[in-house]
Every structure is written in structure tokens, then in C-alpha cells.
């Protein structure tokens, strides 16, 4: 039992106060008045110079939202949110029009540096010669609610890829936005998605034209910065026929006392033979060692495999946030379409995670795969909640699900709530779930071979999450691995 005791001690030792990214950047910012009303919605829309149809869309969502109630079914507990005590819009005050990265507020650039995520373009501007053929990432940096810099625009333009803040897309490509916005996550979808539809501040818009393979990984780094600012990101990604795009989303936020609300909506659409790979590393402030503060993360993410032979793949590494409420889903509408979900959810301290996926099989010969790894430590609660369903006409639907949980310490909880529904005899669904702690035998074996206790535990945890880490793009895998070790610092090395 020595190992168990040691692990428990370790968990006690680690202090979530040591949040590595808990710093605050002081920049002048421009805010909407506190609270939510039709005026707030109008204010945001006006700030964004939005056309009338967009304002109407927002107002409709807002009116709908007033009639809705907060969902209560998730296994998370938190004090009631006062939706009138939140700033719904905050933008870094524009000093002047930004022509190049040099003109960006140096403080903002410094923030990214501290995060260990220098904009690649900085190097390019400084004349650093990068080896030929090295993979490139385009960063659409979201600093609070406004995209500050969009890089690599030229190269993307050549390929015909549209990658811009959604606020710009609304002005420049209204036909595309009108055609797709709200078609995957309707404005009335759920409480938080409706709220987002009314007040979303910004986010990314990606359109990959037919037959184009996006020449680089697209990436957005989110930061929640201004005190009491809800972040309402809206992301819309469309892969037209035969297109491919890989999108990375990474999040960190500075330490705060008040809880911050984050309700993002992400919509993905793939047409015939198209593929979208969406990866997330989420590391927002999880609250301090008493469970105070931390981000509330209520996200609606959904992908629609609208065309035949299309594919959507979600990969997520969730280590932060006080509360995570997130179910990236795939609607497998097109024949032969495929949905994938790979997830690592780590909870420590007083974090509460209720996450999972939905695979909705509607088309013929659709396949899906779910690999979920939950690690609970400290006093956290970690829940996997998922749905796999095959419609009556979804002949030959196939699903494989494996959700495994690892418990570290006896104060935490791990829960699995899968729903598996089949309405078709040709369905083949397989589901397996396990919950366990790290085997004493395995630890003993590793220690026998000369590893320290901590290294041994690290090795086991790494093995435990390997299936998912492999799915991440190279650039992200490194960061994710770092995050996992930070999140479990002390508890598993």
C-alpha cells in the first residue's frame, strides 16, 4: 500500500494555486456595460459593424434564451450564475489599424511568449530561416474577444482558404455565413448555445473550397483576460467537397477569483469526401486549492458529416476549468461517413468534468469510434457521458467505444454514463468501460527495473492516455504532454 499512500500524499501536496498560466496582462480595454438586455445585443452587433440580418438573428436568439432554463442534468454543482453580473463584450482598445505583427501591443505579444506560444510569424519577421518543408501553423489569436492577429493570410489566400475572424466573415462573406451559421447548432439548441448565439463576440471562420487540402494547420489560441468577461466564441468551419483541414484550438487563462463563464459554440460542416480534424487543448484556470474561482466552461461543439464519405474527428485534452460541460458530437448524415472522438479529461483539486460525445448514425454504412480517458485526482468529479445511436435507416452502422477511468486518491469520483441505442438489426455496436487505479503489480515491476515511484506512475499514465495523444497533431502533442504532467504535478509525476 506504500505507493497508494505516497500518491495520496502527493495529491495533497500539489496545490492547484500553482497554476502556471495564472497571470494577468493589463491592457486598456473597451467594454459593454454589465448585464444582458436587447441593448447589449445591439451594442455588440453595432461594435462589430454587423449587417441588419445578423442583428436580427442575434435578437431572435436572445428572445428565445429568455424563455429557456439552465440545464440541470449534468453531474456538476456550482452556485447560480447571475447573468446580469457579467460583461458580455470586451475588446482591447484599438490604438490604430494593425498592419503587421510589430504593431501589436507588445504586452499582448509578451503574454503569448509567457504561454510558450510565440507567434511563428515573429520568427519570420526577424529573419529566422526555417528549414524547408517544416510544417507551418497559422494562428488566429483571440485575445479576449477580438482576433488580434491573423497570420499566414497570404499563403492561405493562394490556396483559396478563408480563415478569418467570424466578425469579418459576416461582413465579407455573408452568403457563406448565412448558408451555414446555426445549421449544425440551431439557435434554440440549448441554453448556453442560445446565449452564445445572442452575444457571441468573435471566433474563427474557416472555409476550405472544394478539393483543397489546407496547406497548414490552422490554430487559435484563446485567452480570457479582462475581469468578469464572459467569453462567447463562435467558430464555424466548412470543408467543401473533397477538402481537408486540421484545426487546433488551445486555451489558457489567467488566475481569477470570480468564476468566469465561457459558453462557446463550434460548428463543423463537411460535404462529400471532406474531412475536418479538430483538436483542442484546454487549460483554463481550474480554481484554487479550495475550489474557489475557476472557469465555467459550457461548450456546445457539433460536427455535421453532411456529405457522403465525409469525416469529422474531435480530439481533446481537457485539463483546466472549474467546470467542464462539453460534448463534441458528430451527426453522421452522409452515407459512409465517419466520426471520431478522442479525449483525455484530467481533473484535480475541486474540478468537475462532465464530458463525452454523441455519435448519431443516420446515413448508411456510417462508422464511429470513441476513445475516452478520464483521470480523476484530488477531490474532483470526472464523468463521461455519451450517446451512440443508430437510426432505423442507418444500415450497417458501426461503433466502437472504449472509455477508461483512472482514479488517484480516494476523495475523487469517476463516473460513466453511456447511452447506447440501436433501432436497426444490421447495427454493430461495441462498448467497453473500465475504472481502476494504477495496478500495484505494474508499479512494482517498474520500480524493480530502477524507475522511481514518480517516474513509474508517469509512465503508466502516459501509457494510459497514449491512444489519444497519438491523435493530436505533432505541435500540439508536445504541449499536451506538458500539460498533463503539470495538471497532475505531484500526484503522478
Amino acid at each position: 500500500m506504500a505507493a497508494v499512500q505516497e500518491t495520496v500524499d502527493r495529491v495533497r501536496q500539489i496545490d492547484v494555486d500553482q497554476y502556471r498560466y495564472g497571470f494577468e496582462t493589463i491592457i486598456e480595454s473597451e467594454k459593454a456595460p454589465k448585464g444582458l438586455s436587447e441593448d447589449t445585443v445591439r451594442y455588440i452587433s453595432a461594435k462589430k459593424n454587423e449587417p441588419a440580418w445578423m442583428l436580427e438573428w442575434r435578437l431572435e436568439a436572445y428572445r428565445r434564451w429568455l424563455t429557456m432554463e439552465e440545464p440541470k442534468w449534468a453531474r456538476v454543482e456550482y452556485p447560480k450564475i447571475d447573468f446580469q453580473d457579467i460583461y458580455y463584450y470586451s475588446a482591447p482598445k484599438p490604438k490604430k489599424t494593425i498592419g503587421s505583427i510589430d504593431e501589436i501591443d507588445p504586452e499582448i505579444l509578451e503574454t503569448y511568449k509567457k504561454l510558450g506560444i510565440p507567434l511563428r510569424e515573429i520568427e519570420a519577421l526577424e529573419g529566422v530561416v526555417r528549414p524547408e518543408g517544416e510544417r507551418k501553423i497559422a494562428v488566429d489569436a483571440v485575445f479576449d474577444s477580438v482576433s488580434v492577429a491573423t497570420t499566414f493570410q497570404k499563403e492561405l489566400k493562394q490556396a483559396g482558404v478563408i480563415f478569418m475572424p467570424i466578425s469579418e466573415a459576416i461582413r465579407e462573406h455573408p452568403e457563406l455565413v448565412k448558408q451555414y451559421l446555426g445549421t449544425v447548432v440551431p439557435t434554440s439548441d440549448n441554453f448556453y448555445a442560445t446565449l452564445n448565439s445572442a452575444v457571441f463576440s468573435d471566433g474563427s471562420f474557416v472555409y476550405v473550397p472544394p478539393g483543397v487540402r489546407c496547406p497548414m494547420e490552422l490554430s487559435t489560441y484563446f485567452r480570457i483576460n479582462e475581469r468578469n468577461t464572459g467569453q462567447f466564441e463562435r467558430t464555424l468551419i466548412i470543408a467543401d467537397k473533397g477538402a481537408y483541414v486540421s484545426y487546433l484550438e488551445g486555451c489558457t487563462a489567467p488566475q481569477r477569483d470570480e468564476n468566469q463563464l465561457h459558453a462557446a459554440v463550434v460548428e463543423l460542416v463537411t460535404l462529400d469526401d471532406a474531412e475536418i480534424k479538430y483538436s483542442t487543448v484546454q487549460n483554463w484556470y481550474p480554481g484554487n486549492s479550495e475550489g474557489k474561482g475557476g472557469i465555467y466552461n459550457f461548450v456546445t461543439k457539433r460536427g455535421d458529416c453532411r456529405g457522403d464519405n465525409s469525416k469529422i474527428s474531435w480530439t481533446q485534452v481537457e485539463t483546466g476549468s472549474a467546470i467542464t460541460w462539453k460534448y463534441p458530437s458528430c451527426i453522421l448524415r452522409g452515407d459512409n461517413s465517419r466520426g471520431e472522438f478522442y479525449s483525455i479529461a484530467i481533473s484535480n483539486g475541486y474540478q468537475q468534468v462532465d464530458s463525452g460525445t454523441k455519435m448519431i448514425h443516420l446515413g448508411k454504412n456510417t462508422t464511429s469510434r470513441i476513445i475516452s480517458k478520464g483521470i480523476a485526482a484530488g477531490k474532483s468529479q470526472n464523468t463521461y457521458r455519451g450517446l451512440v445511436t443508430a437510426h432505423r435507416k442507418a444500415t450497417n452502422a458501426r461503433n466502437f467505444t472504449a472509455c477508461d477511468s483512472l482514479l488517484i486518491g480516494d476523495q475523487c469520483g469517476a463516473h460513466t454514463v453511456p447511452y447506447i441505442e440501436a433501432k436497426n438489426a444490421s447495427t454493430l455496436f461495441e462498448h467497453e468501460a473500465t475504472t481502476s487505479k494504477i495496478s500495484e503489480d505494474v508499479l512494482f515491476y517498474c520500480i524493480q527495473r530502477g524507475l522511481s515511484q514518480e517516474e513509474a506512475v508517469g509512465l503508466v499514465v502516459n501509457g494510459f492516455v497514449k491512444d489519444v495523444l497519438q491523435q493530436l497533431p505533432m505541435e500540439f502533442a508536445v504541449e499536451a504532454q506538458k500539460l498533463i504532467s503539470i495538471s497532475l504535478e505531484g500526484s503522478v509525476g
Binding site: V4, W73, R392, S405, L407, I408, G409, D410, C412, G413, A414, H415, T416, V417, P418, Y419, I420, E421, A422, K423, N424, A425, S426, T427, L428, F429, E430, H431, E432, A433, T434, T435, S436, K437
Partner: protein, 439 residues
């Protein structure tokens, strides 16, 4: 809203039913008060709908519409029909305790006490004004609208006491017989098993030819002491258009073995929900459930297993075979309390869909608050393997026979779990009857 409207209509109608039935329900004073409380509890929600998470897949307001009026006390003709059915059960030498249309039939039952076994009719105990605890007979630790409804209306049932060290030579056998159409029977049985006892308990549900569209509402509350062994077999062969809503609430002591098997082939709408608490250390729980459903049958098997003590083992096996437009539901939950270290829990659900219109909904949940545990669950859904069918057909078997052979093998694992040869044969022949009627 529609929902609210539906609830008030059902509620109002039931109010009348309850008022009308009260005169007939055994027990006055505290018992009557408990019934009223239970009825109020039920009336707050009414028949469960899919909006209640535990009843998500079995929306009784939609499936049952209403609670049927209370069945009348069986007459001679009904008792004669029941006698015939009991004879034909073929369960071998068991101590039969027969309940006809919700009323204990002493004439058809074997009330031999002795060997540590004491048997009473519940109605007599509820009427016993000298007992201070008689109202407890209607109380239970689980809050659920259908358990509350049962407490409000329960007309009869068995109260079985098994003393420490008792090992009755014959299995105890509670037989529920339905003889009338469009009525509801509410039964409640309590079984108290002492320490170091060895018991086999059988429950059968059967129906006479004339019994159509009736409702059977049953609750069984079982306590098992320490170092004991209970083998439980339940075979439900109600009429194809009847409803059977049953609950088992079981508390298991230390170092005890509880092996429960249930087979559902009957009932148009059925639900068997078990709440099993492993309250003592080192106990072992095996549950095996089989659904063989066809036509428009709806069957629900719900298990909530509470590991409340360290070092217990639980194994749940569920098998369902669905034909035509049948709908099967499996909800299994393993709760591991923080004290229940060294828990070993496994749950396996497998379903076979024989028709494109059949539906299976699975919800295997794990809820774990202890770290030193091994828990897992698996679920598979699929059709019969074409290559296996081809192999058998190539050996000259007709298609239906080949299918039957594969189905038999599929449910075999669950059937094998029945320890007693006689009872296993009963379950196997019930399964065979189902397969034969397919052909």
C-alpha cells in the same frame, strides 16, 4: 402544456380509483395513513414519463396510459383456473404460495411451516392491529413513483421468515396468476432471511386464457443476513398484452451469496427494476437477466447495485433477443461508495437484433467514489452472424432451426447460472417455448 394536462387527468381518475378501492385494502390506522402518504407521493409525479431520467426509455404514461381498476377478489371459477395453471408449471417439488389476481389463495398454497420457515399472508399482517410495525410492511428505502403506487394499493402478498441456520429442502415458490382482463393487481412480498441460511426462492408470473390487457404491479423486499445463500429465479410469462411492473429491493449482509436470475418472455409492457445493496463485506452478487421479446413487446430491465461495503464482488449479465418490433431496455448502474474499497464489479450487456424494426437501448452506468476498485462494463449490439448461419445451413439445418440454435447458445451463458437443475430446466423450456413459437 400537454404534459401537465395529461398528468392531471390521470391523477384525477386515479384519485377516484384510490377512493373506491380504499374500503377493500387491508389495514386501518397507521397502515391507511401510510397508504395515503404513498398515494400522495405517487400523485406528485403520476405515471413516470421519459422526462424522469430513470424512466427515460420506459415512458409509462405513454405505454400504460392509465392505472387499471383494482381486480375483484377471485371467485371459485378463477381459483379453479389458477389451480390448473399452477399444476402445469412443471417446476418440480416446490412449496407453492399462490396469489390470484392480487389475493393470496390459501386453498392452492402449501402453508407448511417448519424447518425454520414461517409463511404469512401480507393482508393478515396488515390487518393485525396488535403489531406496532405493520405499517413498515408498506415502506421501502427506495423512492420511486411505481413503488409508491404499489404501497398505496397493495392488496396482498407473502411475508416469509427464514430463521438462522435454516436450509429448507424445497424451494419457496411464489406464483402470481392473472385470470381477469383489464384489471390491476398490486402485490407486495417480504422475505427475511437470517444468518447462515440456504434458500431457493422462485417467482412465476402466469396468466389464464381469458386474462388480457391486465396489469401486475409487484414489489419484493428481501433481506439476507450474514453467511447466507439465496438462489433466486424469476420467470415472467404474462400475457403478451399485459403489463408487469415489478421491483425487487434487496439488502445483502456479509459473506453472503445472492444469485438472481430473471427471464422475461411475456408482457406487452414490462419493467423489472432491482435495487440491490451489498451492505456487508465479502459478499458476492450474480445477476443474470434474459429478454426474449417479439411483436410490439416492450421490456425493461433496470439494475441499481450499491456497493456499500468493502471487498464485494458483483457480476451482471444481460442478454436480449429481439424480434419484430420489440423494444428492450437495459439500465445497469454500479454505485461504489467511498468505503467500498476492493470492489470488483462487472456488467455485460449483449443484444441480438433479429429484425430491422426492433430497438435496444442500453445505459450501463458506473458511479465510483472509491479508488481501489476494479469496475467495468461492456455492451454489444448486433445481428446473428451470417457466416455461422451459413455454416449451419450448409450442414442441412433449416434457417429457423439454425437461428434457434444460435439464439440458444447466445442466451445459454445466462441460463447456465441457475444452480438448481430443475429450475434451470424450467427456464430452458420457457426459452424453448419462445423459440418454437417463432418457427
Amino acid at each position: 402544456m400537454n404534459v401537465a394536462l395529461a398528468k392531471t387527468t390521470t391523477g384525477a381518475v386515479l384519485d377516484g380509483t384510490f377512493a373506491a378501492a380504499r374500503g377493500r385494502l387491508p389495514g386501518v390506522g397507521t397502515v391507511a395513513e401510510t397508504r395515503q402518504q404513498a398515494f400522495d407521493d405517487f400523485a406528485r409525479t403520476g405515471l413516470p414519463t421519459r422526462r424522469i431520467e430513470e424512466w427515460k426509455y420506459t415512458d409509462l404514461r405513454n405505454l400504460l396510459r392509465d392505472v387499471a381498476p383494482l381486480a375483484p377478489t377471485p371467485d371459485q371459477a378463477a381459483l379453479a383456473q389458477a389451480a390448473k395453471l399452477v399444476e402445469g408449471l412443471g417446476t418440480g417439488d416446490t412449496q407453492k404460495l399462490v396469489i390470484v389476481d392480487g389475493v393470496f389463495a390459501a386453498g392452492l398454497s402449501d402453508l407448511t411451516s417448519g424447518g425454520g420457515v414461517t409463511v404469512h399472508a401480507l393482508s393478515a399482517m396488515l390487518d393485525d392491529a396488535t403489531s406496532a410495525t405493520r405499517a413498515d410492511l408498506l415502506r421501502s428505502r427506495v423512492a420511486d413513483p411505481m413503488i409508491a403506487l404499489n404501497a398505496a394499493f397493495a392488496t396482498d402478498g407473502m411475508l416469509i421468515d427464514i430463521a438462522d441456520d435454516a436450509a429448507p429442502s424445497r424451494p419457496l415458490h411464489i406464483v402470481h396468476v392473472a385470470t381477469r382482463p383489464s384489471v390491476a393487481a398490486f402485490t407486495r412480498s417480504l422475505v427475511r432471511i437470517g444468518n447462515r441460511a440456504r434458500v431457493t426462492l422462485v417467482e412465476s408470473f402466469v396468466a389464464a386464457e381469458a386474462a388480457k390487457a391486465y396489469q401486475a404491479h409487484d414489489v419484493a423486499v428481501i433481506w439476507i443476513g450474514d453467511d447466507s445463500d439465496l438462489q433466486h429465479v424469476r420467470v415472467m410469462e404474462d400475457a403478451g398484452d399485459a403489463a408487469n411492473i415489478a421491483t425487487a429491493i434487496v439488502t445483502v449482509g456479509a459473506r453472503t451469496k445472492f444469485n438472481t436470475f430473471s427471464l422475461t418472455t411475456g408482457g406487452g409492457v414490462s419493467r423489472y427494476q432491482s435495487f440491490i445493496t451489498l451492505a456487508g463485506e465479502d459478499s458476492e452478487l450474480l445477476t443474470n437477466s434474459v429478454h426474449l421479446l417479439r411483436d410490439k413487446q416492450h421490456g425493461d430491465c433496470t439494475f441499481v447495485i450499491d456497493h456499500a461495503a468493502p471487498n464485494c464482488l458483483s457480476r451482471e449479465v444481460f442478454r436480449s433477443v429481439l424480434d419484430d418490433r420489440a423494444h428492450s431496455v437495459f439500465q445497469g448502474r454500479i454505485n461504489v461508495h467511498q468505503v467500498a474499497q476492493k470492489t470488483d464489479g462487472k456488467m455485460m450487456s449483449r443484444s441480438l437484433l433479429l429484425s430491422d424494426e426492433a430497438e435496444i437501448d442500453n445505459k450501463p452506468e458506473l458511479e465510483i467514489f472509491a479508488d481501489d476498485v476494479q469496475c467495468g462494463h461492456g455492451a454489444t449490439i448486433g445481428a446473428l452472424d451470417d457466416s455461422l448461419l451459413f455454416y449451419l445451413r450448409a450442414r442441412g439445418l433449416p434457417e429457423k432451426a439454425a437461428q434457434a440454435l444460435l439464439i440458444q447458445a447466445f442466451v445459454g451463458e445466462a441460463l447456465e447460472s441457475i444452480a438448481s437443475d430443475d429450475l434451470r430446466d424450467v427456464a430452458i423450456s420457457a426459452a424453448e417455448r419462445w423459440l418454437e413459437s417463432r418457427a
